[in-house]
């Protein structure tokens, strides 16, 4: 597909917006006889799977995995494949809209993109002048658009940037930060024993991880134990399933730690040399016996004893899996920390079949004393404005440990309504639908009625977009170029989203929109680029060979052998390849020096976290707190992902909607009988926050005291003609209370059942 030589490429890449394969520079010649494959990156969920699109005569005819990524092969999930269905959906937004009716009334005036951007610039300037730049909130799902939005917001002068983190992975991310100083990955492929606490990779798919997990689960010689109040698809593939009481994972893990410590069954060498605070842990867990946890989890003490022993026998080729975001209790931070510490005790860190630090280019370059792998220039400069955040995230107060770049979304409604600490008047959202994905959308809706100006950039006229003053139609991921992304895992890896076909309706990407807004507002002096081509060249430091690989293949790896720092065989092979790295060898023949220079305050793995303990007394070590999720109600409503839909995003996409258009609430037959409900009957789920109508799905696959809903349903936006009015949005029953330390939204909630 790529005829021109490198010199040409650079000329083109720096001269015109670059669309690989069908680019303007190659003229119409290419367009008439096309049957080409373009490698890019999926965005039907957040897993960013490398994928490949086949385009015949300007029409995308098929999507599949990008086999240049070995962990992908040609695999893609239902949502990924349905990207075509989204691209060609006639219910997509195609033109910018400006509100003409009342807020939320769904009355619009169609405008040109230029007019919309001018309008936005004027309004943003007005807000800045009247209330200060900090009066405008910026939020996005993490990813490139978030990186750009954050950069834009800071340049504009607002500290109030929010990602989706607080409604998703923030607990585990905080636990990583405080324990290891950075995010860890899991080597499912080589593990022999996995304890799974609701990390449902078979319904929340991430192809490389899901594939590895499926291989693991289907291997009769490996053992998978699943803890979940619901018989999930993951549970159906396990050797053993324990219907643990919702919210009580922490108790089980604490008992597990207790048994290991009691019996001296843990990796003493690792704990002694590379971690701090074990002695404190030992003391703290005296009481958390297997018998103690029985009452909380509903799992017999003997099970804890047996599993503790089995995991220890399998160590270090074992993983106590934390999940991306298991549905949560207020104890989410403690739960995540306890799980990480369980891994530490099993000594599986930087071991095959255990957990590991991602091997980025920078890290490998540092170990090999070589600059052989390209690193990226920062494309989205960010100078945090010297302002107080509305939630105090990362600054002071109860959210001091929440990264100030992610914030706590749950704090927004109160801040708007109370005007404290200061007036909030505007909100710019891209790839973000908080009225579906965030707790208590009723209150959020009430709060945003008080805003003066809302901009939403989205593919559909979503529930949140409905409330906007300006709606920008976003180009789908198949219609846009983006920059280079570091996606290093076991080896350094970069990916790049390449435009598959020219934008169908001339819609732009968030990157382009924000870049031109920055220019209109005169806050763009730090950007070293103004087109996607220049952005890429800047990121790649002009390395055209590197860029060309990314253009052709969508993914770039560098033939680096897999390296687990504490596997002497790996280290030996690495040293063979890169003799200079010999200098770093420890006496066991590993790269253990690394564990003295972690980005934690002590430089070591922190079992005890002094920094946290100082501010949140009792939280420096995992302990049995905050596990109640019932709040006195008889049932717990839990929620989760399906393999068909993504959060608040895909429910209106034709191919996916017809596979799953509704989310009747899972209920045990006993419970249904007690309330006189038959399959498909309507009933109310009710708590102090809301009373919502739902239909019942009676199944043996759930605890009698638990209810379950697939998330993302219950859409109110009439423009989502297919999804509109179907199912229950479980967020409506959630409180805006956040979990201590990490600021995570709490998605397990107590409810009662009342008859219609």
């Amino acid at each position: 597909m790529f005829a021109q030589n490198r010199r040409d490429f650079l000329k083109i890449a720096t001269a015109t917006p670059f669309i690989p394969g069908s680019l303007g520079a190659m003229g119409e010649l290419t367009l008439c006889c096309e049957d080409k494959s373009i490698r890019s990156m999926c965005e039907m969920c957040s897993s960013r799977c490398p994928m490949e699109a086949r385009v015949v005569n300007g029409k995308v005819v098929a999507l599949q995995g990008n086999a240049y990524d070995k962990a992908m092969g040609t695999s893609l999930c239902a949502r990924g494949v349905a990207g075509i269905s989204q691209l060609y959906d006639e219910q997509r937004l195609t033109q910018p809209l400006i509100r003409v009716g009342k807020r939320g009334e769904n009355k619009w005036r169609v405008v040109s993109l230029e007019e919309a951007l001018e309008y936005i610039a004027t309004k943003l300037n007005h807000l800045k002048k009247t209330y200060g730049a900090r009066s405008v909130i910026f939020s996005s799902k993490t990813g490139e658009s978030y990186d750009m939005l954050r950069s834009f917001a800071y340049a504009f002068g607002s500290p109030n940037v929010f990602s989706h983190w607080s409604s998703c992975p923030i607990a585990i991310e905080s636990a990583f930060e405080h324990t290891f100083g950075e995010t860890m990955h899991r080597d499912f492929e080589n593990a022999n024993y996995i304890l799974n606490f609701g990390h449902n990779l078979f319904e929340g798919l991430d192809i490389p991880l899901t594939k590895a997990m499926a291989r693991f689960a289907s291997n009769p010689s490996k053992k998978l134990i699943v803890f979940d109040p619901r018989f999930s698809l993951m549970a159906s593939k396990a050797n053993e399933w324990y219907p643990i009481k919702a919210g009580s994972d922490l108790a089980f893990v604490l008992a597990l730690l207790h048994v290991w410590i009691r019996d001296g069954k843990y990796d003493k060498n690792f704990v002694q040399h590379y971690s701090v605070g074990f002695d404190k842990l030992e003391k703290a867990l005296k009481e958390s016996t297997p018998q103690w946890q029985e009452r909380l989890t509903g799992i017999e003490a003997s099970v804890v004893e047996r599993i503790a022993d089995e995991v220890y026998q399998a160590a270090p080729r074992c993983i106590i899996d934390w999940g991306h975001k298991a549905t949560t209790s207020p104890a989410e931070y403690q739960r995540s920390r306890a799980i990480l510490i369980a891994n530490i005790l099993m000594g599986n860190v930087e071991k095959r079949g255990g957990i590991y630090f991602p091997k980025s280019a920078k890290r490998i370059n540092a170990i090999s004393f070589d600059e052989m792998i390209p690193t990226l220039n920062e494309a989205y400069p960010r100078m945090f404005p010297n302002e107080e955040r509305l939630d105090g995230a990362g600054q002071h107060g109860s959210y001091v440990f929440v990264p100030k770049e992610h914030g706590v979304l749950q704090a927004i409604p109160e801040a708007i309504l109370s005007q404290k600490p200061y007036a909030i008047k505007g909100w710019f959202l891209t790839r973000h639908n908080p009225l579906i994905t965030l707790a208590h959308p009723q209150k959020m809706k009430e709060a945003i009625q008080n805003l003066e100006f809302i901009v939403v950039n989205d593919i559909y006229l979503s529930d949140t977009a409905m409330m906007a003053d300006v709606v920008l139609p976003e180009a789908t991921y198949l219609e846009r170029d983006e920059g280079i992304r570091d996606q290093s895992d076991k080896v350094p890896c970069y990916t790049m989203r390449n435009c598959v076909i020219p934008s169908l309706y001339g819609t732009k990407s968030a990157l382009e929109i924000l870049r031109s807004l920055a220019q209109k507002l005169g806050v763009d002096k730090n950007y070293k680029w103004d087109t996607m081509a220049k952005l890429r060249v800047h990121q790649a430091k002009g390395d055209d060979a590197f860029l060309e690989v990314l253009l052709r293949r969508g993914v770039a790896t560098f033939g680096i052998p897999e390296l687990f720092l504490r596997e002497s065989k790996d280290v030996e092979r690495f040293v063979e390849h890169y003799p200079k790295s010999k200098a770093l060898l420890c006496k066991e023949g590993c790269f253990s020096h690394f564990f003295h220079t972690l980005q934690t305050p002590s430089g070591k793995v922190e079992i005890f976290c002094e920094m946290v303990e100082k501010i949140f007394e009792g939280y420096g070590l995992p302990c049995a707190v905050d596990m109640d999720v019932t709040q006195g109600y008889p049932y717990v409503l839990t929620s989760g992902k399906s393999a068909i839909h993504t959060n608040g995003h895909t429910h209106n996409i034709p191919y996916l909607h017809q596979l799953m258009s509704d989310n009747p609430i899972w209920m045990h037959p006993q419970t249904a009988k007690a309330h006189g409900l038959k399959m498909g009957d309507a009933f109310y789920v009710e708590n102090g926050i809301a009373k919502e109508k739902a239909t019942v799905f009676i199944t043996e696959g759930i605890r009698p005291d638990t209810l379950f809903a697939y998330m993302g349903f219950g859409r109110d936006a009439p423009s989502l003609k297919r999804a509109h009015g179907k199912g229950l949005n479980p967020s409506k029953l959630l409180s805006l209370r956040s979990a201590p330390v990490c600021g995570s939204m709490i998605t397990n909630v107590g409810v009662k059942i009342t008859k219609v």
Binding site: A62, A78, T210, A214, E700
Partner: protein, 188 residues
């Protein structure tokens, strides 16, 4: 020599994600609310002793195909490799074959008004040495496809290593699709 195609479905690896079903829809333009292929999951047992069965629902390419023998106009026919196809030109849509199929693999395409079913992607892929799209797309590698005449093919190796189940074997239709039954969890 003709090909002895075989498609293996590993219930152990399948997670019912329906990627195969959507890919099939895209590949063949399967009309809304109809399926050439989907995976059915069924919960069995009583809490907390539960199991989930996974089953591929699609044409199994019978060697002794009831749809072919009942078709009055030879619209359903077998090619040289024994794959069952539908000749849309001569299909009168009497639906006799739909009723004859013990696997519920067939339906009437409401747009074209002819009977339709999985054809192993023969026309668009297999004849061009590509894998059927479901096999190619499967996120968990639960599907294998190949020629049993080739000794080094994955299907040959797997077929000789594993105990296979042929769907509704008692009907003696001799399917080219075989299942690898569940090893873990409650037997279904």
């Amino acid at each position: 020599m003709g090909k002895a195609y075989r498609l293996l479905y590993d219930e152990n690896a399948c997670i019912g994600c329906q990627a195969c079903s959507v890919a099939c829809r895209v590949e063949h333009g399967v009309p809304e609310d109809f399926f050439r292929l989907q995976v059915r999951m069924e919960l069995k047992g009583v809490f907390p002793r539960l199991g989930m069965s996974y089953e591929r629902m699609a044409c199994v390419m019978c060697e002794d195909a009831p749809c072919v023998s009942v078709c009055p106009t030879f619209a359903s026919f077998q090619d040289k490799d024994g794959l069952v196809h539908i000749d849309e030109r001569v299909c009168i849509t009497c639906k006799y074959c739909i009723l004859a199929c013990p696997y519920h693999a067939r339906f009437v395409n409401p747009l074209k008004n002819v009977v339709e079913k999985c054809d192993f992607c023969y026309e668009s892929r297999v004849s061009k040495a590509l894998l059927p799209v479901c096999v190619s797309i499967c996120p968990t590698e639960a599907l294998m496809f190949g020629d049993m005449n080739e000794r080094d093919s994955l299907v040959y190796e797997t077929s000789h290593k594993e105990a296979l189940i042929f769907p509704k074997a008692h009907l003696k239709t001799k399917p080219k699709v075989a299942f690898l039954p569940k090893r873990k969890g409650m037997k279904s």
